[in-house]
């Protein structure tokens, strides 16, 4: 990517973020619930209507939509995401404390996924049409047809309750706590990614240079790892970036299943409690993380594909 292209992408990210901010703000504005009542209900005491009206004025909720939106936007641009209604803490502090557990879980799941899907995908591509290919493809098909929360709960049932190998619940976010959620996430992702690796490698295997390498008498394993694999990396990295995004979303359900203290669990609590500042902050953060990751993926092409470098030089 040229500097100009990167710059354009950054501009695009900013525009999308504006759009997302408008959308989430508009939605919370139109929402049927009353955040003031929800806030008081969360604190346990429901005051009379006068106090509620006074609070609403103090929070600026009685002003017209566009004024509320621009006030909110101005605050966000200066780093102030507001205060969570239900947790009475700054939204930024809450999000920051939940970010690392979710990223850690997502990375762990990613590593598991890569460790299984790349060898399996290459194996099925090389053994295309053989028994092993059908078996693995059948398994991946099962993987994509199962709801992830069901996989998670069945894992809890078997591993934690029946075999008692791991604790069901624990308060820390240590390694043991992460194993089951990460495996759950990795199962459905491995199923999808294995198919994609298979397709990408299969396409490379049909290229002319593979025939060329074979006629030169190169070993099959050398062709596969030194030539085919590096060439099929490119589409895989794109898909990898995209799957990291769906992973950020996918963690939501899994975090709820395992009561894991991450962003997704927080989002569900925030939505249930009608905690609008928290919902808005969460959506914007996820959007930002997702787009930055995709940008980094696109930039990384340059380091992997000599053809892009050659194009840039010319």
């Amino acid at each position: 990517m040229t500097k100009k292209a990167i710059f354009q992408r950054l501009i695009q990210i900013i525009i999308v973020l504006f759009g997302i901010s408008f959308l989430t703000f508009g939605l919370t504005y139109l929402a049927p619930g009353d955040p003031v009542r929800a806030m008081y209900a969360a604190s346990g005491a429901v005051p009379n209507d006068e106090v509620i009206e006074a609070t609403r004025t103090a929070m600026g909720l009685d002003r017209p939509f566009y004024i509320q939106y621009f006030t909110w936007l101005k605050n966000i641009l200066s780093g102030d995401f507001g205060v969570s209604y239900s947790l009475s803490q700054s939204v930024l502090t809450i999000l920051a404390s939940r970010l690392w557990p979710t990223l850690k879980l997502a990375l762990f799941a990613m590593i598991l996924m890569l460790a299984f899907s790349i060898p399996l995908g290459m194996l099925t591509a090389v053994k295309n049409g053989k028994a092993i290919d059908y078996i693995v493809r059948f398994l991946t098909f099962i993987g994509i047809s199962l709801p992830s929360f069901w996989i998670g709960l069945i894992l809890i049932y078997i591993v934690a309750l029946k075999l008692q190998l791991l604790p069901v619940m624990s308060t820390d976010i240590g390694f043991k706590k992460m194993i089951l959620p990460a495996v759950t996430l990795a199962i459905s992702m491995t199923a999808t990614y294995t198919r994609q690796v298979r397709a990408a490698v299969l396409e490379e295997l049909h290229q002319d240079y593979v025939i060329g390498a074979r006629t030169r008498g190169l070993k099959e394993s050398a062709i596969l790892w030194k030539h085919v694999f590096p060439n099929s990396l490119l589409p895989l990295v794109t898909l990898f970036g995209l799957s990291f995004g769906s992973l950020l979303a996918g963690t939501t359900v899994v975090e709820v299943v395992f009561s894991y203290p991450g962003l997704g669990n927080l989002a569900v609590q925030a939505v249930t409690a009608m905690d609008y500042p928290l919902i808005q902050g969460y959506v914007l953060w996820i959007a930002l993380i997702y787009m930055v990751i995709n940008l980094l993926v696109d930039i990384s092409y340059e380091f992997m594909d000599p053809r892009t470098k050659a194009r840039m030089r010319s």
Binding site: I144, T252, A267, M291
Partner: protein, 275 residues
């Protein structure tokens, strides 16, 4: 050989799964005649009983027959998944065809919004939308539609752009076809089959996404027999009554597999590149 027989012989995979899908739909339609118990009637004295001869799959916390609820669950799942896929298909295609055909500002506006939605993990926004609108199956459908239409809009637009400048379209316009006529008689027929194939392959995925929202509590509300919701209720009794979780999950799995396979085999039959 007669025509249907040769079709079945040539497309065995598709025929098998079309038959299975038909069975699932028939079970949904005739659910009241199949179930041994009413799915809503609770018998407190029989709460949380394990599967036996009377209750084939056991009972839930309110003593409702799980088998009956799962059978009724097919109705909920099929109906909501079909409504959802049709909404996405119609809205996405309409916007995509309009963007491609008219071009200019309409195109820019629609496609920028689509880009915005695609540049974002869908389920996150769907959770926010479903949560903010309030939990109900209808709102869950609205939420998933809101984040899923851009895929179809992009596809429809690219298909329209491919045919827009072909001679027969120009001929249609020159012979006095109105805009509505052009869209309805030229653009729609040329794009609709690809769009419908895509929708067919997406049904299984949409069922899973809806179930996920219901599982989180942002979809169907009790006492609706919906599999995601049933699994959420069942997870509290994981230790004592695992059947409450296992059976709805299996039902979901079987249905999703059937519709995934049906969609895939339909695509294989109709995909021009494979012929």
């Amino acid at each position: 050989m007669t025509k249907p027989a040769s079709f079945i012989k040539n497309h065995r995979l598709f025929s098998v799964f079309a038959f299975l899908a038909l069975c699932v739909i028939l079970i949904a339609i005739f659910a009241p005649y199949i179930v041994p118990y009413d799915p809503y009637t609770s018998v407190k004295s029989e709460a949380i009983s394990a599967p036996d001869a009377d209750h084939w799959l056991g009972t839930d916390k309110l003593g409702r027959d799980l088998f009956s609820r799962i059978i009724y669950g097919i109705r909920t799942t099929l109906r909501s998944a079909f409504i959802l896929v049709s909404c996405i298909l119609v809205i996405g295609s309409f916007l995509g065809i309009a963007a491609g055909y008219f071009g200019g500002k309409i195109d820019t506006l629609i496609m920028r919004i689509a880009d915005m939605m695609i540049a974002f993990p869908g389920l996150v926004l769907a959770i926010a939308i479903a949560g903010i609108l309030g939990p109900s199956l209808t709102n869950a459908i609205i939420a998933i539609t809101a984040v899923s239409w851009p895929k179809y809009a992009r596809l429809a637009r690219s298909l329209v752009l491919k045919i827009k400048n072909r001679d027969f379209v120009a001929a249609g316009r020159l012979s006095g076809g109105s805009t509505g006529h052009m869209l309805y008689r030229y653009m729609l027929p040329m794009t609709v089959s690809t769009l419908i194939i895509t929708a067919a392959t997406d049904i299984g995925k949409m069922m899973l996404e809806l179930a996920a929202l219901c599982f989180l509590g942002f979809g169907a509300q009790p006492p609706t027999p919906e599999w995601g919701l049933m699994m959420n209720e069942g997870r509290l009794y994981l230790q004592t009554a695992p059947w409450l979780l296992i059976f709805p999950g299996l039902a979901m799995f079987i249905t999703v597999v059937i519709f995934n396979m049906l969609g895939d085999s339909l695509r294989d039959i109709l995909d021009p590149r494979k012929q």
